[in-house]
């Protein structure tokens, strides 16, 4: 199994990442000018009275696009093992991947036909 040396880069990376965050926090705290006034300490308010409900409806189209993105994005994961074994799998592997992409494309065609990607309707 792996030895201690193999984990050294990980430890260094962790220390650097943590150190950067902590040092930035401390430095900004020290360097930033501090001005106190009544106006600055009070809550932020804009000139116009707020109106309406904050929970306004977000377009469902947005969710649809986002969700479709997740699906199509993750399915690409199957290309990683194929890319690694590209040479070894030869023609048979290529055909299998083409079949996979074809099914994928059918799904995409269905999404297009359904009009799920039309932004304005």
């Amino acid at each position: 199994m792996s030895s201690a040396q193999d984990y050294l880069p990980l430890v260094i990376q962790g220390v650097v990442a943590l150190g950067f965050v902590v040092s930035v926090l401390i430095v900004t705290h020290l360097l930033g000018p501090r001005v106190h006034s009544k106006k600055k300490d009070s809550n932020f308010e804009c000139g116009i009275e707020s109106e309406g409900n904050a929970r306004f409806p977000v377009s469902v189209r947005y969710f649809l696009t986002a969700i479709l993105f997740v699906l199509f994005d993750v399915e690409v994961i199957f290309f990683y093992p194929y890319a690694v074994n590209f040479k070894a799998l030869e023609l048979e592997g290529l055909l299998a991947v083409i079949l996979f992409v074809a099914f994928f494309l059918i799904g995409f065609l269905y999404v297009l036909k359904k009009g799920a990607l039309e932004w304005e309707k």
Partner: protein, 109 residues
């Protein structure tokens, strides 16, 4: 120094088993006690990731790649499941204006 001994002997399989069991338990607890449906969904993902970790650990331990292929399938299916779950949540949010699972009580008896 237990930490030093880990570094000297390499990380043995027991640690992976314990870690993935803890992760799985966190996921199960989250599903059982959290009220927000989106967080419940995230906890299910934690459970699946615990499984992934365990499978990859066993796979390296036995030196065969079967489980690593399985992990690819789990990831893809988990994505499909999350997609369906989020769609169902959007559907419910439009009807209920909330994703609190305590409010989904129309079906009883």
């Amino acid at each position: 120094m237990i930490l030093a001994s880990i570094f000297e002997s390499g990380v043995s399989i027991q640690f992976y088993i314990v870690l993935s069991t803890i992760l799985f338990a966190i996921g199960v607890l989250g599903v059982l006690i959290r009220k927000n449906a989106i967080i419940v969904l995230m906890c299910v993902e934690i459970m699946l990731n615990a499984v992934n970790l365990l499978m990859v650990a066993f796979s390296t331990y036995f030196g065969n790649g079967d489980a690593q292929v399985f992990v690819f399938f789990i990831m893809v299916v988990a994505a499909a499941e999350a997609t369906i779950g989020l769609s169902i949540l959007v559907l419910l949010y439009r009807n209920n204006r909330s994703v609190d699972i305590g409010l989904f009580n129309k079906l009883k008896g």
